[in-house]
C-alpha cells in the first residue's frame, strides 16, 4: 500500500499556554515495499510524525491518505492492522505472563481464530529469532530479547507498513544487526518499513529514501546519498554535526573530538 502524509501540521494542547506546534506542513510518501528513513534531532517531531501514520494522533491541518483514500474513512482497527507501529522502547508495554501470550495480544484483538493466532505468534517469533523465548515470562528477558518480542507483537498483525520508532536505541550490536537484517528482509517480502532513527549510519545502510526533520519541518528528502552529501548546508543541525564529527560521511568513523570537553572538565576541576 501507499501511505501518504499531505501537508500535515500538528499542534499539541491548542488554545492553552502549553500550546506547541510539533509539525508544520509535513508531506511525505511511503511507497509500497520501500524503506523510508526519518532522521532528525530530539524534539524535531519524528515521534509525533509517525503517530499520524496510524492516526493515534489526528492532524490539526492536512490529511493522511492510504492508497489515495482519507485514512479517517477507514475503520480504526483496520488501519492499525495495516499500519503496524512499534513505539520507542516498545518493551515497556509488555504485559502478559508469557511471551506467547503477549505476542498473541494483537492477533486476538483482531478476532483471529485461535489456531491462526498461534501460527502467527510462532511465525513472528521465528522471524525475530526469538522462538525459544515463547514460554518465558517477558520480565525475565534481557533488553535485546524484550525488544525482539515487542516487535514480534506488532509483526503478528501482518502489517503492510511497519513503522519502527528508534528500534535500535540502547541495543547490543548483535540485536541491532539482526533488526537491520529484518528490515531488509521485510522489504524483500514487499512490506514497507519506516525507520525512525538518529543513527545516520544505520539509515544510510538500509533506507531507500530519507526525510530529514528539523523543528517539525521536512528540511531535506531524497536518497541517503542525496540527503547526506549533496547539500550539507540544508541538512538539520544534527545531521551537519554528525557529518562533521565523522568526517562529513556517515559511514566513515572518525574519532570524536572531545578536546573541548576535556578542557572544560579540567577548568572545572581547577587543573
Amino acid at each position: 500500500m501507499t501511505l501518504e502524509l499531505k501537508d500535515v501540521s500538528h499542534v499539541y494542547a491548542p488554545g492553552t499556554p502549553f500550546e506547541v506546534e510539533a509539525l508544520r506542513g509535513v508531506s511525505l510518501v511511503v511507497e509500497p515495499g520501500e524503506v523510508l528513513g526519518i532522521v532528525g534531532g530530539t524534539g524535531s517531531g519524528k515521534s509525533t510524525l509517525v503517530k499520524h501514520m496510524n492516526l493515534l494522533l489526528t492532524p490539526t491541518i492536512g490529511e493522511v491518505l492510504v492508497d489515495g483514500v482519507d485514512a479517517r474513512s477507514l475503520k480504526k482497527s483496520e488501519l492499525r492492522r495495516r499500519v503496524g507501529l512499534v513505539f520507542q522502547f516498545p518493551e515497556s508495554a509488555l504485559f502478559a505472563p508469557t511471551v506467547e501470550e503477549d505476542v498473541a495480544f494483537a492477533p486476538r484483538q483482531l478476532g483471529l481464530h485461535e489456531d491462526e493466532a498461534r501460527e502467527r505468534v510462532r511465525e513472528s517469533l521465528r522471524v525475530l529469532g526469538a522462538e525459544e523465548l515463547a514460554t518465558r515470562a517477558p520480565f525475565t528477558l534481557s533488553g535485546g530479547e524484550k525488544r525482539r518480542v515487542a516487535i514480534a507483537g506488532v509483526l503478528a498483525m501482518k502489517p503492510e507498513v511497519l513503522i519502527l520508532d528508534e528500534p535500535t536505541a540502547g541495543l547490543d550490536p548483535a540485536t541491532r544487526q539482526d533488526l537491520l537484517a529484518l528490515i531488509l528482509g521485510l522489504r524483500e517480502a514487499g512490506i514497507s518499513v519506516v525507520l525512525v532513527s538518529h543513527d545516520l549510519d544505520e539509515v544510510a545502510e538500509v533506507a531507500d529514501r530519507v526525510s530529514a526533520l528539523h523543528e517539525g519541518r521536512v528540511r531535506a528528502a531524497g536518497t541517503p546519498a542525496e540527503v547526506f552529501y549533496r547539500e550539507p548546508a540544508q541538512a538539520p543541525a544534527t545531521v551537519q554535526v554528525v557529518s562533521l564529527l565523522k568526517g562529513s560521511r556517515p559511514e566513515i568513523g572518525a574519532p570524536v573530538r572531545f578536546k573541548e570537553t576535556l578542557e572544560t572538565l579540567r577548568a572545572l576541576r581547577g587543573v
Binding site: A13, F105, Q109
Partner: protein, 262 residues
C-alpha cells in the same frame, strides 16, 4: 494539563503565596479546628466573608477557585438534602407524603453546607497558593520536633515530594503505553464497564512494573549522589518566618474567635 482540579497549585505572585508555608499550614489547621467550634450560621458567614477576602488577596481568579470546589458540590448537595428531608424541629414549611420540611432542618442543612464548603476552601486555598515542594518543606519543619522520638520527618517529607514529582511522569508513561497497546488493536472505549476495565490490564501491568523499576533506579541514583537521609542535611531553600507570617496567623485566630463568639 489544562484541567485544574482540587488542590492544584496556581502559580501567581501574591501576598498569600509569599507567606511562609509553615504559617499557612498552621493557619489552615487552626482554621479547620475553629470551624467546628463555631455553632452559629452568622459566625460561619463572618468567617466565610474573611475567607473570600483572603481568596481575593491571593490573586486566584474567582472562577478558577470555584472550579476547585466543583468536586465537593455533590457531597454538599447530598448533605443539605438529607438534613432538609429528615431533620425535625421548628415550624413545618412543606408537607409532601412521608416527607416534611421543617425550618430547623433547613437551617441545619445550610449550616452544614457552609461548614463543608469552608473546610474544603481553606484546604484548597492552602494547596493552590503553596508550591508542592514548599508544602513538604513546611511539613518537614513542623514535624521535626518529632525527630527526637525517632520519627523520620525528613524521610516522610522526601517521600511526599517524590510522590508529587512523579504524578505527571506516570501520567505520560500511561499515555505512551495506551498508545502502544492501541497500535496493537486495543480499544479502551468499547463495551460495557467490565470490558473496559479488563481492557486496562495491558496498560496497568506495564505501568506498575515501570513504576517499580523507576523507584529502584531513583533510589540508586540518589545513593550514587551521596543521599543518606536527613541527618546533617542542609537546605537549598531556607524557610524564614517573618512578621507578615505572624500577622497572618494572628488574624486567622482573631477571625475565628469573633466567629465563635457571634
Amino acid at each position: 494539563m489544562t484541567s485544574r482540579s482540587l488542590g492544584q497549585f496556581y502559580p501567581v505572585a501574591s501576598p498569600v503565596h509569599a507567606l511562609d508555608p509553615r504559617a499557612k499550614i498552621v493557619a489552615t489547621a487552626v482554621f479547620v479546628v475553629g470551624l467546628f467550634l463555631i455553632d452559629s450560621t452568622v459566625g460561619l458567614l463572618f468567617v466565610a466573608a474573611s475567607l473570600v477576602a483572603l481568596v481575593a488577596m491571593s490573586r486566584i481568579p474567582a472562577t478558577t477557585f470555584l472550579r476547585l470546589l466543583r468536586p465537593v458540590l455533590l457531597i454538599v448537595a447530598l448533605t443539605v438534602l438529607i438534613q432538609v428531608l429528615f431533620s425535625r424541629g421548628g415550624a413545618t414549611l412543606v408537607e409532601w407524603g412521608i416527607f416534611e420540611v421543617h425550618s430547623g432542618g433547613l437551617r441545619l442543612g445550610i449550616f452544614l453546607a457552609l461548614r463543608i464548603l469552608l473546610l474544603v476552601s481553606s484546604a484548597g486555598l492552602l494547596t493552590a497558593t503553596t508550591a508542592p515542594v514548599a508544602l513538604t518543606d513546611g511539613i518537614e519543619d513542623l514535624l521535626s520536633p518529632l525527630k527526637r522520638v525517632r520519627f523520620p520527618a525528613h524521610e516522610v517529607a522526601m517521600m511526599m515530594t517524590i510522590a508529587l514529582r512523579f504524578i505527571p511522569t506516570l501520567g505520560e508513561e500511561a499515555e505512551k503505553i495506551k498508545g502502544a497497546q492501541a497500535a496493537r488493536g486495543a480499544d479502551f472505549s468499547e463495551g460495557g464497564p467490565l470490558r473496559r476495565a479488563r481492557s486496562l490490564v495491558p496498560v496497568l501491568v506495564p505501568l506498575t512494573v515501570g513504576a517499580f523499576r523507576r523507584a529502584d533506579e531513583l533510589a540508586e541514583a540518589m545513593e550514587s549522589r551521596g543521599y543518606r537521609g536527613g541527618e546533617g542535611r542542609t537546605r537549598f531553600r531556607e524557610l524564614r518566618f517573618r512578621k507578615q507570617d505572624a500577622l497572618a496567623l494572628s488574624i486567622t485566630v482573631l477571625v475565628l474567635l469573633v466567629g465563635i463568639l457571634l
